[in-house]
Symmetry: C3
Subunit: 372 residues, 3 copies
């Protein structure tokens, strides 16, 4: 949710103009090339978007600032989702929700724990905060499972109809959204002390990082608006080229969503989380990764459902069985690893192993048609 | 399992004569009205039944008394189940088993944790006792899952037959019943110290409550018999009117069982558990709710299977997929929340959110035909 | 994984010559008799095989010795698996993998915890080591679930084909095998201190046991080779007679694999684990049982997949739904019981109750055809 921008990703900004050129003169490169360039361009833009949100948040004081971070922290994923939704690609939207959740929980957390575990024999973190996240994530898993269960059961009784399923999904989205409001109240108000301990380490870290380059409100807003505009543009390219790219690269829609989009959207969180783990701030790494997953599941997903109505293409929350199973086991593993308040490198390897197994599944999986 | 009767529920006793009048002169009100009145009448009666059991238990000494509480604590649910069974409504019976389990785990526990969490920043309880309950509940989940898995697998191989499924369910019911005997041995004999700490708080509480109104053995037995008779009568009305009420109110059989019957049967436990949580006795709240679920799963359900043979309408333990999923995730969330030995208000909200999501599922779910 | 041979099992060696006689003169007894005799003969042989491996390991120093134990500790199961594979009985192979995992986790652990719990009110063990095992086992569960999920999803989209499934299984087997290498690195090198505490108790125990009978390298190797040869011979008999035995005894292929083969292959671990628990070394009991399960899941299963290619009868990792569910809940229960670092007799009873429920399921389950 919170992260600072690594300079090393900035050179990828070159792909912003490259993508624009490729889009304006399609004869210069294939749709697949445009897709790849737009993907690469999103990485640093998502980082700038996150940084600007965070800088602005610091001007706003803890409460409002936390709220800002909590709602705009995954703005890139939200924008990509909206673009895909506007073209009716609900399968890609759902797959990228799945991918963001498992990418954060398994890839980002796994890499962080391994990176931290190589230097430190064992690292400890606040168990109560970790369990609160794991439990909220379990709730998100249920929210993904229920519409699928509903579909099967209703289909079996011969009375399934899409309107009923739509209503069910909308009702569940409202519950998730409301739960997120409670989670934020817990994190930002009633139990903020649980998060402050880390926050303080955090702030010092930040201060050191940002001492020279603290942004003004104006600068933050300008960069926020600019980065948002460019992310939206790149997302439009990316989503527009996804069909052609899939055909060329031989990836399925689900694989693109689950693996490609998820890695792109979370690259900035990823680098920050790994860096923090290496500095023995594993609690911060875990809260970045878990917080990001939680935001996708309890905020971005419901918002996309709500907005899909405005687009006249209602999206339900019925995910495919592989998606549901993937998220279920990712959350299960996170819960198991969180339950003792300590990490070691093997736990990171186990998370990465699960990510690889799931990646293999989605790679080999033939195209499955989502119920819209 | 244990609770004291709140006076505030007693005025609902007015619905006992109202129900009798409606039953004798049906022209005075619809079947739906009878159903609702009988439902409301069961609430205080279940409370009196519980109170009488408990009073009698106190005369019997800890061992026998505990046993009495453990077997008659959910007498109301058992009686409603027997009535429904006698009319062949196995779907309602199973749904009310599901509903009692998730109602206790999510609604009662959730409300208790929220009520306690508003007043107290964090509340702690005995982890070993909580884990023992959670593990027994997991066993109950398996017992519900296995017959469903059996059905699917056997159907796939083309060799499913109801007799085989009946045998399987009977064998599992025997294992559950035996496990319950071991659980009681653990709670009442070999490890009663784990529960005594709470018991002592409890007893003091009780003493204060009951000082004036301690019942004699005669009074306890008379009220026990009387309340049982009236619960049986109201259950007969309730079950008799359920078909007509469903049609009028637009609820499915499963929704009635899962939500309506479950709330009615557990209202008294509910009020006691919430009250205890507000007095910072969260351990007692959790043991009331978990104990009640456990009793339904490991005692009431097997007994209903056994008795169904006497009625010549054997009931199996095959539950529908939504029921199995609901109980599975309810137990999973309880386990997660129990694993750190502390509660805070957010955990209560998470349990309630799951209850709402499951309620939505069962509300929208079209009628599914249980395999008898 | 590690155990010492109990003399009491040695008299079963009489079944080695009996089996040979029955095989050479089939008119002397039925195939079912041969099957039973071969089963009984494997029990002490597996024990000698384990003992010889361990003696040799002690000559090799901790690192190499640990590796030897970790790879040959379940040699008997591996040999039986190879024999069954060579005859194309992939269903039996898979069922015996399932059975070994749940047998170790539920039967061996359950019996050990009960045996220890009768003498000791509560026994404690190293939580970090137990959680590392539980998490690795969860990974193994995922590895079993994924090919089944793949099959269903691919079949639903009408694009399932066995070659794709084979590739998926092979890729997953490689991930599991690699994970096992990391688990061994953790246990034997980077975090061996976690296991040393127990190891020291262990070593003293060993010393006492072995003081008189410490074997030389030559003796260890001779017995290792001899026991391997006889296990292979008995396995050949056992597997050759399995079809006929099934028909006579009325067991299904799955029941034979899950219950019979699993009990036979793990009898020696079983007796050692129970003995250790009674001596209040519950940590050692749990690590024997969990280690053996882990070895089956992350080492034996992948090796069997790899070898199946050499035999020209590629085996995939698609297990039946009942097998997947059985392993899932066994691991879930183990995780729950491990999470507090303590055991009591009720937890053992709960594990045994799950074993009995699963045994009932597999007993009643009609023959299901595994996808090869």
């Amino acid at each position: 949710m919170k992260f600072s921008m690594k300079p090393s990703l900035n050179w990828l900004l070159i792909f912003v103009p490259v993508s624009i050129v490729l889009r304006m003169w399609p004869q210069l490169g294939s749709a697949a090339a445009l897709f790849i360039c737009a993907c690469l361009a999103v990485i640093p833009l998502a980082g700038w978007l996150g940084r600007a949100t965070e800088e602005l948040a610091q001007h706003m004081g803890q409460g409002i600032g936390g709220l800002l971070n909590a709602t705009f922290g995954n703005a890139a994923e939200l924008i990509i989702g909206l673009m895909a939704l506007s073209k009716g690609l609900t399968g890609v939207v759902k797959a990228s929700i799945t991918g963001s959740i498992i990418g954060n929980l398994l890839l980002v957390m796994g890499a962080s724990i391994v990176a931290g575990g190589i230097k430190h024999r064992s690292q400890s973190f606040n168990k109560t905060a970790a369990l609160a996240s794991a439990t909220s994530l379990t709730l998100a898993v249920v929210a993904l499972v229920i519409p699928t269960v509903f579909h099967w059961s209703a289909a079996k009784s011969g009375e399934w109809n899409p309107v009923l399923e739509q209503k069910l999904s909308l009702a569940i989205a409202i519950v998730l959204f409301t739960t997120y409001a409670f989670v934020l109240t817990f994190e930002l108000f009633t139990h903020k002390q649980l998060y402050t301990g880390e926050g303080e380490n955090r702030t010092k870290e930040e201060k050191k990082n940002h001492h020279a380059g603290r942004w003004s409100i104006q600068k933050s807003i300008i960069i926020l608006v600019g980065a948002t505009a460019f992310v939206a543009l790149m997302s439009e390219f990316l989503v527009g080229a996804v069909e052609a790219a899939r055909a060329t690269l031989g990836f399925t829609e689900v694989f693109v969503g689950v693996v490609v989009v998820a890695i792109i959207g979370n690259a900035a969180e990823h680098s920050t989380a790994v860096l923090m783990a290496m500095k023995n701030k594993i609690g911060l790494s875990l809260s970045i990764a878990a917080g990001s997953s939680l935001q996708i599941a309890l905020f971005v997903a419901p918002v996309l459902v709500f907005v899909s109505y405005a687009f006249g293409q209602p999206m339900n929350l019925e995910f495919t069985l592989p998606e549901v199973v993937a998220v279920f086991f990712a959350v299960q593993l996170i819960f198991q690893i969180s339950s003792d308040g300590e990490t070691n490198w093997l736990e990171g390897v186990q998370l990465l192993a699960l990510y690889v197994i799931l990646g293999i599944l989605f790679f080999y999986l033939p195209e499955v048609h989502h119920a819209r």
